[in-house]
Symmetry: C2
């Protein structure tokens, strides 16, 4: 499993590490909104499981608390997520786009940005 599959909660934990640097479990837990915040031990359990999956590791210790850091990149994790998602649609992009647009998730600006990104990317690929 080069790129383990991460659940939503696992992703939220990874997100804390990606954007907040190495953190202790208590700190990760506190990145969740008070409303509906999971128990300390719940976060702990998920962190341990992420450790088993080699998605993160213990970087050092402060007092008796472990400090964890991400081992896989946000990009890699998201890539995996997108792949799985597309798999749900049989890999066909068209219905996905249609769905995004009809549900109003995709704005004109998003599409314009996408266009620009595509242009830049194809240019870069030509250059290389």
């Amino acid at each position: 499993m080069r790129l383990p599959k991460l659940s939503k909660l696992e992703l939220q934990i990874m997100e804390a590490l990606w954007s907040g640097g190495p953190l202790a479990i208590r700190e990760i837990q506190e990145t969740f909104p008070q409303k509906g915040r999971p128990a300390y031990t719940t976060v702990q359990t998920m962190v341990y499981r992420l450790e088993v999956k080699k998605a993160l590791r213990r970087a050092r210790k402060i007092g008796n608390a472990h400090i964890f850091e991400a081992l896989i990149s946000r990009d890699a994790a998201q890539r995996r997520l997108v792949d799985d998602f597309l798999g749900m649609f049989g890999g066909r992009m068209q219905p996905v786009m249609a769905q995004l647009i009809e549900a109003g998730n995709l704005t004109t600006k998003d599409v314009a940005d996408a266009e620009k990104l595509l242009r830049d990317l194809s240019k870069k690929r030509k250059d290389a």
Copy 2:
């Protein structure tokens, strides 16, 4: 659970019903490619579970075999799928698009189509 969450396999089964009309379990099973086709009873179990979730129902009987039909629309199911997916990204569209494009999942044509769809849609909304 107005819109139950469907797994990949469940979606594939629903897909058979959506595109193939009411089907018997054997028929659903045979829509899977020979290579890696799940056992008859595996499909059966999933169909039963979809029945409990009210995603499909027994429409009638032929001989002693039940014929199943979809109760939820492909659109509704996909909407749910997209929502969950966006939830994984914290609801932010931008990283999703970036990911799709960088992974090469999104072509120039896809974006052009999206643009057209957006235009048509905003026109329709203005008209209404």
